[in-house]
């Protein structure tokens, strides 16, 4: 299962998702709340509204859980206004633009969905502003979410899903909105699931093999990045009918554990990778 981080500005936006999964509070720091559903490997981060709060909350989260950054999928979820888009529908965001400097972030799109573009603005957008970009959604966090996350994760881990709340900058009936938001929750969950499915093709089918491979990798006297390179090479080797014993043998043949000089170690490491890829 791929770990996921669902980021919301307000507790009301998070509530239906939290309700669906049983979670425990992980930490609370001033207005930032973080919950975790262990069974589903989902982190829920409630940031408070606005760009600065979003950036701070994400930084606090990844400062505490930096090991997650290589494979966690991050989603900004919440409500947004739009002049033309019909209300009470979910959209998967294909372009995130900062209203104030016109800079854009293009999420890596790899699923078919109901797409829309979004503009992030520092104050609530009114009807006049929205009418200039009638088909675009408006919110106050998405650009900060994407831009901050670029510091911690790669682009394909950054996603945004928004629910159209109004067409003129005014939410007329909050209860009606939240009721529709909850009713159509499954659409948002389907998008999350579709994206997760892309990442969950198992590299090593056998759990025991995976566990043993992990032990081998962790015993290697190499850097973390080299460990990750080695893992890829070893998986490739296993997928091409190599065995764990053969991997151990290759490592032993090269006496990697006894080499002290860094440059020599790097050169030997490359030879090991070469051997694994030439199975």
């Amino acid at each position: 299962m791929t770990p996921k981080l669902l980021v919301f500005a307000h507790p009301q936006e998070a509530a239906p998702f939290i309700e669906k999964y049983s979670c425990n509070t992980l930490f609370q720091l001033k207005t930032i709340q973080c919950l975790y559903s262990e069974n589903n490997q989902i982190y829920f981060l409630i940031t408070s509204g606005g760009a600065v709060n979003t950036s701070v909350a994400l930084s606090v989260f990844f400062e505490r859980f930096s090991t997650l950054k290589n494979n966690i999928l991050c989603f900004n979820i919440g409500i947004a206004g739009s002049f033309n888009k019909p209300i009470y529908h979910w959209h998967y965001i294909s372009k995130i633009t900062n209203y104030h400097n016109n800079k854009s972030f293009y999420p890596d799109i790899f699923i078919k969905a109901n797409y829309a573009e979004i503009m992030t603005i520092e104050f609530p957008a009114n009807k006049k502003i929205m009418s200039v970009y009638p088909d675009v959604l408006f919110d106050m966090e998405a650009f900060a979410f994407a831009n901050t996350l670029k510091f911690f994760v790669q682009n394909h881990q950054i996603h945004c899903i928004k629910f159209v709340s109004d067409n003129d900058g005014v939410i007329k009936d909050i209860h009606e909105l939240l009721s529709h938001y909850q009713k159509q929750l499954s659409e948002a969950l389907n998008i999350i699931q579709d994206i997760e499915n892309i990442f969950t093709t198992k590299l090593v089918q056998n759990a025991d093999t995976e566990k043993e491979l992990k032990i081998i990798i962790e015993s290697l006297p190499v850097t973390q990045s080299q460990q990750s390179q080695f893992k890829k090479a070893a998986v490739y080797y296993l997928q091409h009918n190599g065995s764990l014993n053969q991997i151990r043998q290759i490592i032993n043949e090269h006496h990697l554990h006894t080499i002290k000089i860094k440059s020599e170690k790097n050169s030997i490491f490359r030879k090991i990778l070469n051997q694994l890829y030439n199975v």
């Binding site: 372009k95 854009s104 972030f105 293009y106 799109i109 790899f110 078919k112 797409y115 670029k150 490739y236």
Partner: protein
């Protein structure tokens, strides 16, 4: 290729060529952009992951309609050697290809103002005289002909402009444009061929050797000038056997008198090479021993010389008269 979503520059929104290409792609979403570099050069992207979901970007080139020829390729004996970039990135995913290290993302950029390229080239010819123009270095143009008729339009231009020699290099077998155009002495169709074992290992998604040989035969039959490119030659311990069998096979179906050949061993800009390895390409090509000369990654000189001499002599044995060598 992920065709559900297409990026288009706002400036060509109502351009006839844009509408024509969109008709062929039929995306469910268009994302309007100011400049193709916003998408192509987006930082922090995982190149290999995006290759699986490669998207099309339709754009208009504003300037730099041609470049001086690269020292990584042969000028085929021409004094004024240029290349242009009608499209960026490729449909195929050859593991030895420098494109993986050239741009931040693998998205396919199609420049739809082909006429501007042709006009700029016309002006260049007026300035310098005879030129040799390679058309498809940063892409595979014939493979893109289904979206936009680049090859057809350039061959028609070359038919009427004798001071240019154009080369269209491809791994594609889709060369229907040869039936819609006339051959002429200044149009050279170059087909890159590799032994099947090399192709299976390093050239995923490319047409098979048989399909490519059939395309070569068709081009010869239609009286086009044809060059066969054995480039890059990939070193393996038994390369002599592999390439001997391969040449036997190729020249059973193609007559040696009808073609010229070009050969070159694997080489790559050092920075691109480093970037490709950093991006996580797992191909063994990126873990072999190389020497670095003039900021270019190459096989060690003894291997290079041995391979070139071997291939050259094999081709000469088969009566190929014109052999262009990139050393």
């Amino acid at each position: 290729m992920f065709k559900q979503l297409v990026y288009i520059e706002k400036s060509i929104k109502n351009h006839a060529n844009t509408i024509q290409v969109l008709d062929k792609i039929q995306p469910s979403q268009i994302v309007w952009i100011d400049h193709y570099k916003e998408v192509l050069n987006q930082t922090n992207s995982n190149w290999l992951f995006n290759k699986k979901f490669q998207k099309i970007v339709l754009a208009k080139r504003e300037n730099e309609f041609y470049y001086k020829g690269s020292h990584h390729t042969s000028n085929l004996g021409h004094q004024h050697f240029y290349y242009n970039t009608l499209a960026l990135n490729c449909l195929y995913h050859c593991e030895y290809c420098y494109l993986q290290g050239m741009y931040n993302t693998p998205h396919l950029v199609l420049f739809l103002n082909n006429n501007d390229y042709i006009n700029a080239t016309r002006q260049l010819i007026q300035q310098v005289g005879d030129i040799y123009m390679a058309l498809s270095y940063d892409t595979d143009l014939p493979a893109l002909e289904k979206y936009y008729p680049y090859c057809k339009e350039w061959i028609e231009f070359a038919n009427n402009e004798k001071n240019i020699t154009i080369e269209i290099r491809t791994k594609s077998h889709q060369i229907d444009f040869i039936h819609q155009t006339q051959p002429s002495d200044n149009v050279l169709l170059s087909f890159t061929l590799s032994p099947e074992v090399i192709q299976n290992r390093y050239e995923p998604y490319t047409p098979s050797l048989e399909q490519r040989l059939k395309a070569v035969q068709n081009a010869i039959k239609k009286k086009f000038k044809v060059m066969i490119c054995f480039d890059p030659l990939i070193y393996t311990t038994d390369y002599k056997n592999i390439y001997t069998d391969f040449f036997n096979h190729v020249f059973q179906s193609i007559s040696a008198e009808s073609v010229v050949a070009s050969i070159g061993v694997f080489r790559m800009n050092h920075q691109f090479f480093k970037r490709i390895r950093k991006n996580g390409n797992r191909s063994d090509i990126y873990y072999k021993e190389y020497s670095i000369e003039n900021k270019t990654i190459m096989y060690p000189k003894n291997i290079r010389n041995e391979m070139i001499m071997f291939v050259q002599s094999e081709l000469q044995k088969r009566n190929i008269k014109d052999i262009f060598i990139y050393e």
